[in-house]
Symmetry: C2
Amino acid sequence: MADADARPRLHGELLSTSLLAFLKNWNAYGYQLSQRLAEAGMPDFDSGTVYRTLRQLEKTGMVSSFWDTSESGPARRMYSLTKAGEVFLSGWIETLQNYQSILQQALAGLAPSVPGSTAGPDETR
Amino acid sequence: MADADARPRLHGELLSTSLLAFLKNWNAYGYQLSQRLAEAGMPDFDSGTVYRTLRQLEKTGMVSSFWDTSESGPARRMYSLTKAGEVFLSGWIETLQNYQSILQQALAGLAPSVPGSTAGPDETR
DNA sequence: GTTCATAGGTGCATAATGCATCTACAAAGG
DNA sequence: CCTTTGTAGATGCATTATGCACCTATGAAC
């Protein structure tokens, strides 16, 4: 979990959905996706996790893959988004909007929408 | 991980940061936070996870707590955000903006910023 | 005295993660 | 020919996180 001086990372749902999003309009392979995430501003994450997450996404039907040996060099496992993956991605966008609204309301210092909740800011301090 | 028909949930960093955000302007206890999350549109998540996440956040110095026995009923463990928690939350906002921009660029179908990357949409389909 | 809502927690099996390590292909350099 | 470097993917293992079920306890209502 978050350590006192740790910087936040992308993993879990954030990683999965980033990968799905990248695959929305372009097919790609793991190494490529791994690099693209790094370039997008998340430098320190594990490539093993990326590869495993992709396999996991395939197991649950979000993406499909095949070995691409058309180029020279090591074979690449090319991934593409499935219909189920698109549906899941849409659902995620909604969830994310909920999350954003939680975050923004909370940060704006708006009153929680719970009747009988404790009074204002710094109430118990 | 994401199952083909599963709805996305809040956990991991999403849960931690939601909790921290809720505590930004108001102190609260676990049961309350658990309910607030449910009301905010995330109905199906585990309360045990919420309690454990809060203890974890305390262990890493993001929040602090004390037993509140001022009200009638079972004692409540009141949490408040620490300075470290605020700092972490700010860092998270930045990370989230990166993530959002990844998502939006990908969904908009913009070209990935990788030289030599494969051509346009549906290139290999 | 029993039931219900509140409040927090634990045990256990399973899943996810970070880190190190490994295979393999091809180009370049000596 | 042999070694190094970059590309590409994967696994073993220890640690951590999670879901589910279950447990304790307080107090109000019946």
